[in-house]
């Protein structure tokens, strides 16, 4: 729920409480392949948010009657750890968590080539370990790259960030305090390579102009995050290559030159005869 907008969230130099500019993202890092058992996984740190996403599938779907005859069903499970927020969160999934799970699944379904895996499930689990505002966006960023890590074919990568209103000014990537005391929040998911918005929500009070400004700013932010997602995916393979280089090379057996040449020659000569 948005606040009344009376708390001072921008100083006279135009800086936010955490020192950022209005159009600046929080520090963001993504690590790929953090869980061994999952087909794909990622850990994201976005400001103080810590979220782990795991992908299992395509795999058999239970109960089977939910299977789709022509495509895979993407199931998302967004859950907050009991200790992720100031008060202890009840471990039972709330209506909020269920709604978020549903819209995240819708967003990811827009890019995954689900028609390649009829009657199966692709399960995406997102566990919020520490929440600091914008967890649905951060979860989606992690889920997207976890799907790529699992080798699930996609048309593009979904990126996500919120824009919102603090002291009546449009700002990017609100953190917890700004979300609580600001006057509006607008999470968005955008696939930069496709120019497609696959998630859009808003609460607060926006004028038409503020809405359009927020939309443009969030799209710009999503494009920045997309580059970090790409680099994180590349980093995994750079790391693998580095690991491989460290292993001492097995010494290649020297094959005597004369022998190597003679064998094929001999075979070639014999063939026409046979």
């Amino acid at each position: 729920m948005a606040g009344d907008g009376t708390v001072q969230l921008i100083d006279e130099k135009g800086k936010r409480v955490d020192g950022r500019d209005l159009d600046e993202l929080r520090p963001l890092s993504i690590k790929i392949g953090v869980l061994k058992n999952a087909d794909g996984s990622a850990e994201i740190r976005m400001g103080k948010n810590i979220i782990v996403a795991a992908v299992y599938g395509p795999r058999e779907l239970h109960p089977k009657h939910r299977a789709l005859p022509d495509r895979a069903l993407i199931q998302c499970f967004y859950r907050m750890a009991t200790f992720s927020v100031n008060d202890r969160k009840s471990p039972a999934p709330s209506r909020r968590e269920k709604e978020i799970s549903m819209i995240l699944a819708d967003s990811l379904s827009s890019v995954v080539l689900t028609e390649k895996y009829p009657r199966t499930a692709i399960d995406v689990y997102m566990q919020v370990l520490q929440a600091d505002g914008g967890t649905r966006c951060a979860s989606l960023i992690a889920a997207s790259v976890a799907l790529a890590d699992a080798g699930v074919p996609m048309r593009g990568i979904v990126s996500s960030v919120a824009a919102g209103l603090i002291n009546d000014k449009v700002a990017l990537d609100l953190y917890d305090l700004e979300d609580q005391k600001g006057s509006g929040d607008m999470p968005l998911a955008y696939a930069p390579t496709l120019d497609e918005i696959s998630l859009l929500q808003l609460d607060g009070i926006f004028t038409i102009d503020q809405f359009e400004e927020s939309l443009d700013l969030a799209v710009k932010g999503a494009k920045e995050i997309f580059e970090i997602q790409k680099n994180a995916l590349k980093q995994k393979y750079t790391d693998i290559r580095a690991d491989v280089k460290e292993v001492p090379k097995a010494e290649a057996k020297e094959v005597p030159k004369a022998e190597a040449k003679e064998v094929p020659k001999a075979e070639a000569k014999e063939e026409p005869k046979a």
Binding site: A191, D195, S198, L215
Partner: protein, 271 residues
């Protein structure tokens, strides 16, 4: 809602074929809403109630007020809570059981429009700070699903709240709250309405009927207050929009919101 319903390819093609000629299966314009009827004071035992029909879509909203404690982080404000029941009596595609994702989404999106528009001053629902506040339960029962439950639900919620009467209270010297017989109207400061559109092919249609909803893969709901502020947005389903499309739909939705609010105010002036 009605997600188990499979529409035939031939019907899909027909709806698209009509849209290409700027027509709809029920002879409406693309942005034309169906006939709206709002009947308030329907259930005497509820603090406020309203039956809304939007074409063949029909739902009832009831408001109950009970005394309770405020949330620890908001000791001076009352509480509103919204729930929706997709009863199987409303459609062959609804099932008995715990609230489905569709019911949760309907309740939460309606909640957002009501809450964020600040249509009720929650501080006026506070009786004794930290101890006693009014909790308003706003509950929907869908009676017939013929499409566009989102917009009908918001109309119903505002109509029920605007006609609700809350008992007066007296706080005794010992701090005990006494609920009196006499009731006073709940004051409404804003009149938000929600406008939902569906994308079918390249067309964007408003107040979609049941079959039009089934053809579409993208839904976009805007909540507006009477000063043309946007108070809520929800994009639904697996389809996508470009940023430019969203800006265009926003302007179309704003126009539709005027028509809906006119119907709402007409119904409320009759009370």
């Amino acid at each position: 809602m009605g997600d188990n319903y499979v529409i035939s390819e031939i019907e899909k093609d027909h709806i698209l074929f009509l849209l290409e000629q700027n027509k709809r299966s029920d002879n409406r314009e693309l942005n034309q809403i169906r006939e709206v009827n709002i009947e308030t004071h329907y259930v005497g035992k509820a603090e406020g109630s309203a039956v809304v029909t939007l074409g063949d879509t029909k739902l009832i909203v009831g408001v109950k007020a009970i005394l309770g404690s405020p949330f620890p982080d908001t000791p001076n404000t009352g509480v509103i809570t919204i729930s929706a029941e997709l009863s199987p009596l409303a459609s062959p595609y609804f099932e008995i059981g715990p609230p489905s994702n569709a019911a949760i989404e309907l309740a939460r999106v309606t909640d957002r429009a009501i809450r964020e528009s600040h249509c009720i001053d929650l501080s006026k629902l506070c009786i004794v700070p930290e101890k006693s506040v009014w909790i308003l339960f706003i509950d929907f029962y869908i009676l017939n699903d013929a499409g566009n439950l989102f917009d009908a639900a918001t109309l119903g919620a505002i109509a029920a709240l605007a006609t609700a009467k809350i008992p007066k209270t007296k706080v005794g010297e010992d701090g005990v709250v006494e609920v009196l017989e006499e009731k006073e109207p709940l004051k409404i400061d804003h009149y938000p309405v929600s406008v939902t559109s569906y994308k079918v092919g390249k067309f964007n249609i408003f107040d979609a009927n049941f079959k039009e909803e089934r053809v579409s893969n993208s839904r976009l709901t805007f909540g507006f207050d009477e000063d043309d502020h946007i108070v809520s947005v929800q994009k639904g389903r697996q389809g996508v929009y470009t940023p430019e499309e969203i800006k265009k739909i926003l302007r179309e939705s704003l126009l539709v919101s005027k028509t809906l609010r006119k119907e709402l105010m007409k119904a409320l002036s009759k009370k």
